[in-house]
Symmetry: C2
Subunit: 412 residues, 2 copies
């Protein structure tokens, strides 16, 4: 009755060369990177100097999960969980089932290891990226006090936030991105299953529609306010920028070398209010033109904004002092930039019939201060009338690993 065992491996025959990079054991140079959006790779190597899912071409769908360790979990539980997660993630990202037995190969008398809903689906460029929250390093928990990166602390309060606990924090996080949402959901679901008894889901976020690009060869997408977003992103082909703004060097904690910090913010957008704003005001708030995404100082999308240009029509700066693009721009924030990797979300309607929708902001930064500085600048942002930060979390993202190693083994 359990005939017809079907393996996801069949898909690998088609893309063997790319997939093989990840299992050679050494660091695959630039493994988790995609400078050429066309053709899009179907398998992203799991092993490498950095974790995949950071500089990887931004996939179309996200399923993000924050976990808390169970109240009785021990240091050994954490260690074994990370080892088990690593094994599973290495398989899943390569289009395999979660174990060798998978959904149908374990025989009739036990629950299948793999939940099966991704059988027959291609790997869809699945990446699985792990991170550790500040609470994981708290005293009297797992003996990791001395392994905490100095900068891994809860984010400070910012103007206009209305944070909810149910969208915030977490001991651990997993970011799963793929070009098919079922593949991303399958990954988180199976990793959650593996965690049973050791860690449990604290909150999750489904995102569709990337709002960022990590390569100029990908077109800049639009957010739910209809504007191009993330034009000034750190691009994955600029090693100098990545070294400056994204990768930790391990001088604080060696285990963080080649890693990064991940800032996650759930930003509700007040869609109906925004939709009643006249075009000129929308553009003044954002500081860009809506059609092309060009700064209001002139040019095209990738023209650098010129904050000194004066508009006679506006009787002041062409790019208003309280516009989003001015306040967020690196030149106004000591040069600070981030690698953004956010997604739009839509979750039905609230009790007033308004859309529950917005931006799930994800940024990878070498130091949380990059985010903190910009976010403080944004206190004056006229966009604040139309957005609310309702969730917040920060995680330290360890560096990549070789085959045979476990994510976070440097913690122990």
């Amino acid at each position: 009755m359990t005939g017809g065992r079907l393996s996801r491996r069949s898909a690998l025959g088609l893309i063997g060369a790319a997939g093989a990079v990840g299992v050679t054991g050494g660091f695959a140079a630039g493994a988790a990177r995609d400078d050429d959006a066309e053709p899009q790779e179907s398998v992203v190597p799991f092993h490498g100097k950095h974790q995949s899912g950071i500089t990887t071409r931004v996939q179309q769908h996200l399923y993000f999960a924050s976990f808390d360790m169970t109240s009785t979990a021990t240091r050994e539980d954490l260690k074994s969980l990370l080892a088990d997660w690593t094994d599973a993630a290495a398989r899943l990202t390569q289009g395999r089932e979660v174990t060798t037995e998978g959904a149908t190969g374990g025989g009739p008398y036990k629950p299948p290891d793999d939940t099966g809903e991704a059988l027959g689906l291609e790997p869809n460029a699945l990446t699985i990226t792990f991170g550790f929250g500040p609470t994981l390093f708290a005293a009297d928990r797992f003996g990791l006090e001395k392994k905490r990166p100095k900068e891994l602390v809860e984010l400070p309060s910012f103007a206009f936030e209305l944070l909810e606990d149910r969208f915030s924090g977490g001991d651990l996080c997993i970011q799963a991105c793929a070009d098919d949402p079922q593949v991303a959901v399958h990954a988180i679901r199976n990793l959650s299953r593996i965690a049973f008894g050791r860690a449990q889901v604290r909150w999750t976020q489904l995102g569709y529609g990337r709002t960022s690009t990590t390569s100029k060869s990908q077109s800049t997408p639009r957010n739910l306010f209809g504007f191009k977003d993330g034009t000034a992103n750190v691009f994955s082909n600029d090693d100098s920028d990545l070294a400056t703004w994204v990768w930790a060097d391990g001088s604080d904690q060696p285990w963080l070398a080649g890693g990064s910090f991940l800032v996650a913010r759930k930003i509700q957008m007040l869609i109906e209010s925004w939709d009643r704003v006249r075009l000129e005001e929308q553009e003044a708030i954002v500081g860009r033109d809506k059609g092309r995404g060009a700064p209001l100082s002139g040019g095209s999308e990738f023209t650098e904004p010129d904050f000194d240009v004066v508009s006679t029509a506006a009787r002041g700066p062409a790019i208003p002092m309280d516009s989003h693009v001015r306040l967020a721009h690196p030149t106004q924030n000591g040069g600070a930039r981030m690698l953004r990797r956010g997604y739009n979300y839509v979750e039905g309607n609230n009790d007033l019939g308004q859309l529950n929708a917005g931006l799930f902001f994800l940024a990878f930064v070498r130091s949380p201060e990059q985010f903190v500085g910009v976010q403080r600048s944004l206190a004056k942002d006229s966009l604040n009338e139309y957005i609310r930060h309702i969730g917040s979390a920060i995680f330290a993202v360890p560096g990549g690993i070789r085959a045979g190693e476990s994510i976070g083994s440097g913690l122990f």
Copy 2:
């Protein structure tokens, strides 16, 4: 400052021939149909004998909205709303902005007509399908008592349902399907905006991952229990089956000719419980093997189940008496079949940390009795231990229209 107006029309240049079919004014034979999954069309004609989005190849994403007319809305409001929705839908499905002025062409001093987040995106096979709920025809509302199809009544109660008002009912519905979720969400958002003051959203459903196929050339997808679903669907290339099981002939209400009934059910799946069931039992509950989707009586996915086959191992029928495939099968239900078009959904986790996930079941039927009969059979389904129906709605779906006509004009 509003330079750089950008039209979605540019995308049309690439697929002009297909798009043109929809604007010739006559019925495009087989317009809303796709018998060849490869290559997948990018533009689906809006006009035709039937509404698109029924026999159309099942797109990858769904955004479904149920609306109630506002308490003060008049018959004229309803009529004008349907006319405005028709105009917008005809444009949106062809990859155009919602009006000729769109997101950037209306000048700086008014809110843009189009919310803009789909600018630059291809049409992605967007279809927009309208339906009318029983409450729209109630006495003392819009004078439509005599236009109500006899069979358009609330569905009866079924075993094991736990229906919630916030996922059920509605005066009107719009099903938007597309291969890019942002395109489907953009459509519903802009149609909701148009409705302001006349109708408001009652509930919505985001679906990803089709769980059905309307053509054998599309592979059968898997539901969140990891099984192939919808194998016995009515296929869009079988005119005889469509005439028997899907299309209304208008003998009851002429305005329903070429239309159908749409049954929507939100079915929560108890994922964690299911995942603890051993493989043999999962297969016995479903009545199919998990790997290939073959019936337990033998063969392959598309082999007809043989309910008379006896299994010595099971000491009874190979396909158990209380299995889902037996109880749902046409031969056990007077031949009744449905055109299913459902989607998986995942909406985070509940207070117990369990997945809020399941199937948003959509079926188009010539008569609601097709659904009612099968659902009554399913009272004995052993799958009921693992699912809960939490939302329910029924709509009459009018036939297709010619260019220049409005959806539902036959009501007035």
